[in-house]
């Protein structure tokens, strides 16, 4: 089991670009495909993943408790009520990121590897301790980026850290990296009000995992405490996340930007991205 488990980190550098939403949506999409998934909240002190998954009232123990040996992993893991192969390891809201130790995180990740197919670490924003520990033991990184210059530059910074500060990088191995573009608006990009997909990929020179369209569904889903892939499976962002999750599992899915509206105008601009 341990040799097939994949540790993913969902990271971005910049805050508010959709790391937690993407972690929940991809975790749920993988679980919907029958994979055994745990999502781990590394945003100690500012936890949100429990809310987005609707598990906030069931948190007893958290990542810090497990890292410090106060609680066992099995006591801290929370199983999703809708998807029985989706689990959450919440962060502590009362502590800060200094409570995380590298050794502690290493042993928790090692134990999770032996129990799950996918370990998805939701990184905090920034490039400090919380973010570096979240990526430290990852095999694969998903860099969440908005089509906007400050987000893209921060993502580039994070890619530099992934290539130097992770355990795989220090061992001289490659860390697999994917860009996930979120809050993408095809029409605004075509009018030049946003960076295009080509712009983002040119700057980051990293393969694309998916393009998540800007949608009201994302906010609605997170307010009802449900990953968008569960809340409304047929919505455009849900289809985009499901496609991204299938690509993670190694399937070849053509890259499209799903849309909610089916007008002629959207079809005209609903182009494909390499």
């Amino acid at each position: 089991m341990a040799d097939t488990a994949k540790v993913l980190v969902v990271t971005s550098g910049k805050g508010g670009v959709g790391k937690t939403t993407s972690t929940a949506a991809l975790g749920a999409a993988l679980a919907q495909a029958g994979q055994k998934v745990v999502v781990v909240d590394f945003d100690v002190g500012l936890r949100n993943l429990d809310l987005v998954l609707g598990a906030e009232r069931r948190v007893v123990f958290d990542l810090i408790n497990v890292v410090q040996g106060v609680a066992k992993l099995s006591q801290a893991l929370i199983r999703d009520k809708r998807l029985e192969t989706l689990w959450l390891l919440p962060a502590s809201q009362t502590r800060d990121k200094d409570a995380l130790t590298e050794q502690g995180v290493a042993s928790v990740i090692k134990e999770l590897r032996s129990k799950f197919d996918w370990v998805i670490c939701d990184s905090p924003a920034g490039i400090e301790r919380g973010a570096t520990l979240a990526m430290r033991f990852a095999d694969t990184a998903i860099i969440v980026t908005n089509p906007e210059v400050s987000s893209v530059r921060d993502s580039d910074r994070i890619i530099g850290l992934l290539d130097s500060k992770t355990e795989r990088a220090e061992k001289g191995l490659r860390i697999e990296k994917h860009v996930l573009i979120t809050r993408f608006d095809t029409q605004r990009a075509s009018r030049g009000e946003m960076l295009t997909v080509e712009d983002v990929l040119d700057i980051l020179s990293t393969p694309l995992l998916g393009i998540i369209p800007e949608s009201e569904e994302v906010l609605r889903a997170s307010n009802v405490g449900s990953p968008v892939t569960l809340c409304n499976e047929l919505s455009a962002p849900a289809r985009a996340y499901t496609d991204a999750a299938r690509r993670l599992m190694g399937n070849q899915i053509p890259m499209t930007v799903p849309t909610d509206r089916k007008g002629l105008f959207d079809r005209l601009f609903g182009r494909r991205a390499a």
């Binding site: 490039i127 580039d156 910074r157 530099g160 850290l161 020179s205």
Partner: protein, 219 residues
């Protein structure tokens, strides 16, 4: 390895001592490359010429001069050398195993160029004082590349490039697409705002023309 002769003042006494030494081994200097280290004696152009003439009379042919003011060395005198290693202040030369080796530019172990096969990411600084840097990918916004020699970027230069950082005004910067935040050669710099808009988003080279940082399109 060449032999280095290091004259000391007064020159006449030094030549007398050289003669005394030549009497014991008359053919020592025949056919050997000799370098004259003038670092210890302040001589005029004429005095240097006379000294070289005096050595020529003793069948000592000087192939290069070290430690002299380059302005003093006219075309009739041997060229100025740099980087040759002195064998000490003694006039008695030391014999080495490979007398045929050329004295200039002794082989260095350190490489003089740095090749980066991966993009330079935002926040990274690459410093290479020993020579040129070649970047196969792009240099991101917020990244810095600092070279003692020239800088070549085959992707897009979006960050900063500083060439000739160790005082080399002949260094240049080349990039296949110029979106640079700042370029600098030997301390002379220009920010993105000070660049002509017509030079953006195309391949350019940058050099110092009479202490003015100049940028020109390559295509």
């Amino acid at each position: 390895m060449a032999f280095v002769l290091t004259p000391v003042e007064p020159i006449a006494n030094w030549l007398a001592e050289l003669d005394k030494w030549r009497r014991t081994s008359p053919d020592f200097f025949v056919g050997r490359p000799i370098i004259l280290d003038l670092g210890g004696v302040p001589l005029s152009e004429n005095a240097i010429g006379e000294l070289i003439g005096a050595l020529a009379e003793r069948t000592i042919r000087v192939m290069g001069i070290e430690g002299a003011d380059p302005d003093l060395l006219g075309p009739s005198l041997p060229p100025l050398l740099k980087g040759g290693r002195a064998t000490g202040g003694d006039i008695v030369p030391t014999v080495c195993d490979a007398p045929k080796a050329v004295p200039v530019a002794p082989a260095r172990a350190e490489p003089t160029s740095l090749l980066l096969e991966t993009p330079v990411r935002s926040g990274q600084t690459i410093i290479f004082p020993n020579g040129d840097i070649t970047v196969l990918g792009s240099v991101a916004s917020g990244a810095e590349v600092v070279a003692g020699g020239s800088i070549h970027v085959y992707g897009t230069l979006r960050g900063r490039a500083m060439a000739g950082s160790t005082g080399n005004a002949a260094a240049r910067i080349f990039c296949s697409k110029n979106e640079a935040e700042l370029i600098s050669i030997d301390g002379y710099y220009r920010t993105a705002e000070e660049m002509d808009a017509s030079l953006r988003s195309r391949s350019v080279q940058c050099w110092l023309a009479d202490r003015v940082l100049t940028i020109a399109a390559l295509d």
